[in-house]
Amino acid sequence: MAGRIRVRAQLSDGVTEVKALMRHPMETGLRKDADGNAIPANFITEVTATHNDRVVMQAFWGASVSQNPFLACRFTGGAVGDDVTVNWVDNLGETGTGTTKIR
């Protein structure tokens, strides 16, 4: 059930604030499980936020971003009802996506 992203986008005084929570373990590869086996690294490496089709934020991440990561950013030019989409891709090539409308 990863791959999910919760996105909300709120317009206020001409600035749209995007907040996204992503379902992802963000494993560093440095931890061991209860049986002492190494837990393989698995973390989001890239995130983009788009407004309609325009990129409003791009991020490169390492494994030290927290589990189930949170990202907030702000842009101008949005209008109520416009689409905001957040996508991620991780080090294993898997992806997640979430969309909302500006309110």
Partner: protein, 230 residues
């Protein structure tokens, strides 16, 4: 790129075939384990709480169900603080505890404060999640303030900052040692563990914590300003 599915991972966990777990009460074949009191006779219990806990737990790692058996101190102290009652029995238990305290074999009370600091900071030991081969901690900071520069200290016990000001008279050494060895010798039903009597800490670890408390060079005995000047 494929969509990731944690649900599959979670579901596969459910498919792990479990080791059979025993709900029925186990026989009390309690072999002596690290941390178990050996000198205290177990109180015979035909106790509903004990039975419920026996039926509700599984042995795990070093934390076996043998630990659910109470000794006399534990049984006497398993009540709300306001309700210890029976002063005569309390006194008898306290005196019995005092008689069992073992002072350091070589008469030396003071070890190395730096090693004592590690013991005081270490909260691990004797949990089923802990490595039985690693030394146990004293976890002193969970309950006591010690080095005044440490911000993360608990308040269940009194502050021990500047404890060394009490000096190192024989009386003081024996008192401090006894308090750590078996707190109930002085203060029956104290919340503090019996670090010596229950074998939680070794004699050397206890000496090192003694030094951490009493050595004038220990950070416990350095006022905040002193360190800031350094």
């Amino acid at each position: 790129m494929r969509m990731k599915s944690i649900s599959l991972r979670s579901l596969s966990l459910m498919g792990v075939v479990s080791a059979f777990f025993v709900l029925a009460a186990c026989a009390d074949s309690s072999s002596p384990e690290k941390g178990a009191a050996s000198e205290i006779a177990d109180v015979a219990l035909a106790n509903s709480v004990y039975d419920a806990l026996m039926a509700s737990t599984n042995d795990k790692g070093q934390a076996t169900k043998a630990r659910l058996r109470q000794d006399e101190v534990q049984e006497f102290c398993s009540k709300p603080r306001s309700d210890y009652g029976d002063a005569e029995r309390a006194n008898a238990i306290r005196e019995a505890r005092m008689a069992l305290v073992q002072m350091p074999a070589d008469g030396e009370f003071i070890g190395d404060w730096a090693r004592g600091a590690e013991v005081a900071n270490n909260g691990r030991g004797l949990q089923y999640s802990d490595d039985p081969a690693a030394p146990n901690g004293g976890n002193c900071y969970a309950c006591h303030q010690m080095d005044p520069r440490e911000v993360a200290y608990g308040t269940i016990g009194p502050s021990l900052t500047n404890y060394g000001a009490r000096g190192q008279s024989e009386v003081m050494l024996q008192y401090t040692w006894t308090k750590m060895w078996d707190t109930h010798a002085y203060n029956l039903c104290s919340h503090m563990p019996r670090f010596g009597a229950q074998g939680i800490l070794t004699e050397q670890q206890l000496k090192d914590v003694m030094a951490y408390l009493l050595d004038p060079a220990s950070p416990v005995n350095q006022p905040l300003e002193a360190q800031q000047e350094n």
